[in-house]
Assembly symmetry: none
Homo-oligomer: 208 residues x 4
DNA sequence: TATGAATGAGCATTCATTCAT
DNA sequence: TATGAATGAATGCTCATTCAT
């Protein structure tokens, strides 16, 4: 349609090729092996070409991470629909996360080690650009919790904070799954996490 | 009195000076800026001097992290006593964590980004030596949960997995606190997290 | 014509440029001054560029030495032909050596100090890969002596040992030539060494 | 006798202790392991103390080498007596060298790699101070040859140059002995070298 | 547009030398 | 006299980034 669409499409396609190559390298060699040369080799292009598609290393990695999180977001958006009871959406969310990361074990492991960025207190320049998809995920969760609270399903509380706690609690379990041999059945973890978050640790009636 | 000679005391003191300098660098420049030169500069000593106190970079970082986690562990051990009801120890644990990391915001932020190591699927050589204090923390938590389950306070479940979920859920909240201006009162988060974990999200009687 | 691409030619040319720069540094600063930085500076390129052409320092030095010894070997191979009487080939060999090292005085001096490697009794890992051209030179000499012995020209004896003695004896004279001002005429040394080796020290008929 | 003799004796004794420690390190760890720390450890003294007895590393190594060569010189001086026929003294010299270096294989191997100094054409400051014992050895040999020539035993020729050729030819054989398993009988090499040097390679009467 | 050779700042580590004790 | 902790220049090597082609 638009006159520039052909180039734009090509550009988008290239950026995604590079992102996928980045994931393969990350999975195979770990963060320490994630050099521009390795990414270029994996993508079958020249090192310099990377700089035609990305400003610098940081921008490339950001995109590579966002692209994968984008996939996850698409799946979560089909689950975290407004109006559904939280007792239904929470297990499905956990299930979607477990299935997604069971597919991308290596990516998860490597990504976790990068999630907090460089953690540099001085350099805040790029803060805004970063972690957008992770933030979106949290927002989606928070929205679901907020609506559930509005409907009176869950206790009223700061939904953003709740989303963070739930998301990272789930991540911890995802991470444990990486090293389990044989892997625990996904459904078992889905039910356990959901039950815990929904009804808490305590045995009802046993505590004052 | 003590069997340690003057030199041993000096050695210990120096190692801690270096560990603290490491934390300051980590906080100020992030993991990527954590070079031996930067640590030496921060400690006000020469680069070569670092190698008089630590075998190599890895040993230095391990000590720097261990020293801080050691402090935390000491605090947690006074709280996570066997036999205390979980409804009491959990809030106190959360409180200890929040107070500790409110003091060491920058360290926490930077440390989180290093916790997962190199995440390389191929290289597992150093796995055993590392992350001992984080593992100890999880073990302590898991033990408390295990005993609570044995006493019938909490539902029976894998305590290690539960500990991981709880620990990382709490971390997520700790991390959010870092960026809050003004910081939310610690006690508010303590109560909220504890209540959530103990009794769950749901409003009782409202869900089928 | 040649199967080599333009890049291969360029690569070869660069490797030789670096080898020559290495010789100049070796001559000017000695083995102790033979740092990668010095070589790069001498070659007029960046330090990192060296690593595009050589795996590491060791490979670079090996090539630098091999390239020069290769030249010498080529000259010697035209002289040490099988079948020629030793009384002819020995003087020509000495002459070839003298002329060659008169051209490369500095290289010889510095190289001699490196010939024995690290000399560590414990570490024998790299023994096989090294000193190939010096060994070839010895083999060539030994073969000439072996054939002369077979023809009955020289007394029967272990040709390898003889080659070593002759080679290092000649080296000693080459080395002395380095410091002589003015240089002694090459032909004088050629004749003297040959005569000594062929007929010995003693005045015939004077000794029992 | 002299008033300062006690200190002077102690100083001499210390210097020799250090020299011997240096040899042990050289033999055990090779030239690359010959650090000041290693020498101090081996000598059982502090690193700084080395600098009380030697100006710097170079002076220390010079002395360590000279001390061992001094031992050899003492032996050679009992053999290379003026007036003895060269046909007698040469085999005895070779024998002394072989026996000496068979005892000090490790020292020889390591020393050879250092014999030519740094070979630096620019830095001639220390040239004079160096290699004094090796030079003495050559002088002793040269004197023996010179006298033999004066007596008409050997053909007239530059005795210094002859000494160098003979000395390094012998060194080559000594070096080969290092790697031989089992070692060839010393006497066999003594006779072969002597015969070769005295009477030459050629079979008499076979060559024009 | 795509390349990849070239760059050079940066890194962890070593070690001869100094100097306060 | 003897020490050894401290130094800091120097080393081999890596890799994100640039730019002439």
């Amino acid at each position: 349609m638009s006159p520039e669409s052909k180039e734009a499409v090509l550009e988008t396609w290239r950026r995604n090729e590079i992102a996928q190559a980045t994931h393969r390298v990350l999975a195979r060699r770990g963060p320490a092996g994630l050099s521009m040369q390795a990414i270029a080799d994996e993508a079958g292009i020249a090192k310099g070409t990377l700089y035609l598609y990305f400003e610098d290393r940081e921008a490339l990695l950001e995109h590579a991470v966002d692209a994968t999180f984008g996939e996850l977001m698409a799946r979560l958006e089909t689950v975290l629909l407004p109006g559904r009871p939280i007792a239904e959406t929470l297990p499905e969310t956990v299930r979607a996360l477990i299935l997604f990361f069971d597919e991308k074990k290596d990516f998860l492991r490597a990504y976790m080690s990068m999630r907090y960025g460089d953690g540099c207190a001085e350099d805040v320049r790029h803060k805004r650009r970063k972690r957008t998809h992770y933030q979106s995920y949290l927002k989606l969760l928070a929205a679901a919790f907020g609506q559930a609270a509005a409907r009176g399903e869950v206790k009223p509380q700061d939904p953003d904070r709740l989303a963070a706690l739930v998301a990272d609690g789930i991540s911890a379990v995802l991470l444990r799954r990486l090293d389990e041999r044989p892997p625990r059945p996904a459904e078992e973890d889905v039910l356990w996490i959901s039950e815990l978050l929904l009804r808490g640790l305590l045995v009802p009636g046993r505590n004052s």
